[in-house]
């Protein structure tokens, strides 16, 4: 008969001296604030990152809503309405914007820069990764706690430059900073310089985090935890961290060259001085393409945990998933040329096209593995599991539509149209952000010690799913019909699709706000969370309380089962009946 793994429960509320949760205040309000500001606890740093990233996500999202509103009409629609108020001042120097594209171009740029540099790149690794990596490895903290805190301050410092640039009227270069426009626009103003500096500084924050994680994974795994005993979340974060460390210096150098070009006219990108603007594109995408995988690998990492716990199954083909992570990380460095298929029409594009198709395979393998994991599972449709299934749905669309763009002849038509906009939103938002929201729900009880309202969560998830598809699916058709991206005004035939998309963005926003209120309500008076509400088997659930104590574990955990051994181990539950878990099949050997 199956044995219920009660042994671990002792570690949770055994007869040891009382250790306070990491969230407990340190005396007065000021000393608590000081404690948070100077903390080297990975959990607190992760939470601070989470809050900062969500705040930035809010601003980036508002910019997106404004972009969609502006596109309601073929000619400029709403900008004139901001005359005289603070937005009008920020984006129009107090002038009437009714007939100018400046508002749209700047808001579109703000949306891109915030979402890429301030939200998606740090999102999962810096917040959930920071919080969970040591817990999952059974460590007390990351390898370099002070470096970790430094990365948070560097992030803040970088954001400060971005905000300064925004407050002084923002930039209109697009998030890609393509030369020679970016070296010549706004001559005599520093705002472009500030924005580029922001991206440059944020790169360091990214490198710090990545380096920290690589070392932590190599050095701080608990006794008994081999490489293939690690949760796949750790594998995903590890793959992303390697790319961060290797690729980010390239964007640092590139942005520095861009600044030199602006200040000293060194003539590396500026054609008037004999430079080559296409060289900038090569440099830029040599970083920015691998970074696409810095964004998506952690999203995939989360999905592993959600699918495993939601279907109570061993992840199908663990090693294949782990190795495909490394394969993606590796190939991601040699596909950047597919962003330049229309730049000059070089035959080298053929190589990049072939490699692009190659990188599709490990991504597809992961999806197949997750679907196979569901087979004969015991599936529960909690909010986070719904998000995991949404991810599979949306990411499949995102990945499959990549085939159009990797195919050279078709790309010549679709390049720089709304088709690509739809495609990368399906990957970046439908992939990473959807996984991120799912992950926040899944680990919310662990991070805050409170349960959220399940029904509100599920309704929110449904709204986000419907809203997301309504927003971005029409954009595929707009793109194949020839609507170019980054257009403040457009020809009338696209209006129907644009309005469809704009209405979708409202539904999407409603879903996200519902989640926000749900989380706030949970913090205010949510039910206290048990240590392991989902009955998962990774260390943060089995060996740490909700929320964890300051040093994570009472004792250094010893790993006795795999992260997904749902077929043999029934985890301890603090309150039986919280969730009815199916028992492992007869003959399964639980430890102890």
């Amino acid at each position: 008969m199956a044995t219920i793994d009660i042994g671990k429960a002792g570690a949770l509320h055994g007869g040891h001296e009382h250790h306070g949760s990491y969230l407990e205040g340190k005396g007065g309000i000021w000393s608590t604030i000081w404690d948070w500001m100077t903390t080297v606890d990975h959990k607190k740093i992760g939470m601070m990152y989470l809050v900062a990233i969500l705040v930035m996500f809010f601003f980036g999202g508002m910019a997106a809503i404004m972009v969609r509103l502006e596109l309601w009409e073929p000619t400029r629609a709403v900008a004139g309405g901001f005359e005289g108020n603070i937005l009008g001042h920020m984006f129009g120097e107090g002038a009437n914007l009714g007939k100018s594209n400046e508002f749209y171009n700047r808001v579109m740029t703000i949306h891109g820069i915030i979402m890429v540099f301030l939200v998606i790149v740090p999102s999962v690794p810096a917040s959930l990764g920071n919080f969970l990596l040591p817990l999952m490895l059974g460590a007390k903290d990351v390898a370099f706690p002070r470096l970790n805190l430094a990365s948070w301050y560097v992030y803040l410092f970088g954001s400060l430059f971005a905000i300064l640039s925004l407050l002084s009227y923002g930039v209109d270069t697009g998030w890609t900073f393509y030369t020679p426009y970016s070296t010549t626009t706004d001559e005599g103003h520093v705002r472009v310089v500030w924005m580029v500096t922001a991206a440059f500084i944020l790169g360091f924050s990214s490198i710090f985090t990545g380096l920290n994680f690589v070392v932590t994974v190599h050095k701080l795994r608990a006794p008994g935890m081999g490489w293939f005993d690690m949760p796949l979340f750790v594998w995903g974060i590890y793959g992303a961290a390697i790319i961060q460390v290797l690729a980010t210096p390239v964007i640092g150098i590139t942005l520095l060259l861009l600044l030199f070009e602006r200040f000293f006219h060194i003539g590396i990108f500026d054609p008037r001085l004999g430079g080559d603007p296409v060289l900038f594109q090569h440099f830029f995408w040599f970083y920015s393409h691998p970074v696409v995988y810095v964004m998506i690998l952690p999203g995939m990492a989360i999905i592993n945990e959600l699918i495993g716990a939601g279907s109570r199954k061993k992840i199908f083909g663990y090693r294949a998933v782990a190795f495909s992570t490394l394969a993606i990380a590796g190939i991601s460095f040699i596909v950047w040329g597919h962003h330049l298929f229309t730049s000059q029409g070089e035959v080298a594009s053929v190589v990049f096209s072939a490699l692009t198709f190659l990188v599709a395979i490990p991504s597809a393998v992961k999806v197949f593995n997750w679907i196979a994991t569901l087979y004969k599972g015991s599936i529960i449709l909690t909010t986070w599991m719904l998000y995991a299934l949404s991810f599979l749905f949306l990411f499949s669309i995102g990945g499959l539509t990549g085939l159009f763009l990797g195919s050279l002849a078709v790309d010549l038509h679709l390049h720089d149209t709304y088709f690509i906009v739809a495609h990368f939103h399906y990957v970046m938002m439908g992939g990473t952000i959807i996984a991120f929201i799912g992950g926040i729900h899944y680990w919310w009880p662990k991070m805050t010690g409170r349960m959220y309202n399940e029904l509100a969560g599920q309704i929110g998830c449904a709204l986000v799913f419907i809203g997301f598809n309504a927003t971005f699916f029409p954009q595929f058709f707009m793109g194949s019909r020839g609507m170019p991206r980054r257009y403040a005004s457009y020809v009338t035939e696209y209006q129907f699709w644009h309005q469809f998309s704009t209405i979708g963005s409202w539904i999407l926003a409603a879903g996200l706000f519902l989640h926000l209120f749900n989380f706030i309500a949970s913090l205010v008076n949510g039910r206290k969370a048990p240590a392991n509400p989902w009955g998962a088997l990774t260390l943060e659930w089995t060996h740490a309380s909700s929320p964890p104590i300051e040093h994570n574990f009472e004792h250094e955990p010893v790993v006795t089962h795999g992260p997904y051994d749902y077929d043999t181990v029934l985890p301890a539950q603090t309150k039986p009946g919280d969730y009815v878990l199916p028992r492992p099949a007869a003959g399964g050997a639980a430890h102890h």
Partner: protein
């Protein structure tokens, strides 16, 4: 495997652009010889997408339904957590599907890049924010033939190309990156400032004229629709990026030759400076940023600009006279008008003298304090 793929490809190819999926994706059949290749490859990939999506999502929904926890007894079934033949199969089969997509894409790319040697060559100069075409005899699109392709009344150049003859565009930019995109021909190419890029196409059908011999027809909703092909700029190039457009129509060879003769001399003998200015206003794309009816745009309106005092970015107020206009036109960055972006290019060395004089005269004619104030408009 390959047989199945090729059969599917043949089925898609046979659809000849009339299918529902095709109409939904593109609106109508593209009007160039290469468009067809691109369209059928696109439709082929759509089918690969649909089938793959069903293959992946079908089991997912089925498993979620079948293995939902509410259907489980206390004990649940176990299944293998790994299966090498299956895993190999789902790595290799997708790869096989991707091979033809890659190959046909590669083939189509080369045929879009390599133009026939007997192509009609047209030079395209891109600048912020204008497409300037120059034909082999030196002719350039004449402003009287400019067209409105957007809802606004902005007039953009009309580029004409001959039917049944390959056309090669040799393109360069005078400032930042642009991209010449003709959606109906299903192709585009970036235009860069440091080297020539080129693209080519061969239009299949002559553009049929719309209502009353114009290039427009009325839509049921009363809106004006341009019947030719739209040309967009697809690489972000600053403020008026979305207004950097052109119309393109396909003419018979005779009409084409005739048009090129007509367009040879935009400023003919005996034109007044004001008339020259009016032509230059559109030809040099001043109209992209400056209105003549008092509306604000990226640049200030020209209505009542001359003869009035205006605030400049350096805090001074200046009375606008001929010398001021000349300086503002040729060296736009020297004195900037307050409240507007500094995005106007430098026109010294670009404009001819008669154009500068003409533009000044034209601006004067738009002011009620100018010499033209009593002249009938």
């Amino acid at each position: 495997m390959m047989d199945t793929i090729l059969t599917l490809a043949e089925t898609v190819r046979a659809e000849k652009g009339g299918g529902l999926l095709h109409r939904f994706s593109f609106g109508h059949v593209g009007n160039s010889t290469q468009a067809y290749e691109t369209e059928w490859l696109y439709i082929f990939i759509v089918w690969v997408n649909i089938i793959s999506f069903i293959v992946v999502m079908g089991p997912m929904f089925w498993f979620v339904f079948k293995y939902h926890r509410s259907k489980q007894a206390t004990n649940y079934q176990q299944s293998a957590s790994h299966n090498t033949p299956l895993e190999l199969a789902w790595s290799i089969i997708p790869l096989l599907v991707l091979v033809p997509i890659f190959f046909w894409g590669f083939e189509g790319y080369l045929s879009k890049l390599a133009s026939p040697s007997d192509a009609e060559e047209i030079q395209i100069k891109a600048s912020m924010w204008n497409w300037e075409a120059t034909y082999r005899n030196g002719a350039q699109p004449h402003p009287r033939d400019y067209v409105k392709i957007m809802e606004s009344d902005l007039e953009v150049p009309l580029i004409v190309v001959p039917q049944d003859r390959p056309v090669r565009l040799i393109m360069h930019s005078s400032d930042v990156l642009h991209s010449f995109f003709v959606p109906d021909f299903r192709t585009k190419m970036d235009v860069t400032p440091n080297r020539y890029t080129s693209m080519w196409f061969e239009a299949r059908e002559v553009t049929l004229r719309g209502d009353e011999g114009t290039w427009y027809r009325r839509l049921p909703n009363g809106k004006r629709d341009f019947v030719g092909h739209k040309v967009f700029c697809a690489e972000y190039c600053g403020n008026q990026h979305s207004e950097m457009a052109a119309g393109l129509v396909v003419l018979t060879r005779e009409e084409y030759a005739q048009k090129l003769e007509e367009w040879l001399n935009p400023y003919s003998e005996g034109m007044s400076p004001r008339e020259i200015g009016e032509i230059a206003y559109k030809k040099r794309a001043c109209n992209t940023c400056h209105s003549i009816d008092g509306q604000r745009n990226t640049g200030p309106t020209w209505k009542n600009w001359y003869g009035y005092e205006h605030a400049y970015a350096d805090g001074q107020k200046r009375m606008v006279d001929e010398n001021h206009l000349r300086e503002n036109i040729l060296y736009s960055q020297k004195t900037l008008v307050a409240g507007y972006p500094s995005s106007m290019p430098v026109y010294a060395g670009v404009l001819k003298d008669i154009e500068v004089n003409g533009l000044i005269e034209y601006i004067k004619s738009l002011s009620d304090r100018g010499p033209y104030k009593d002249a009938p408009q």
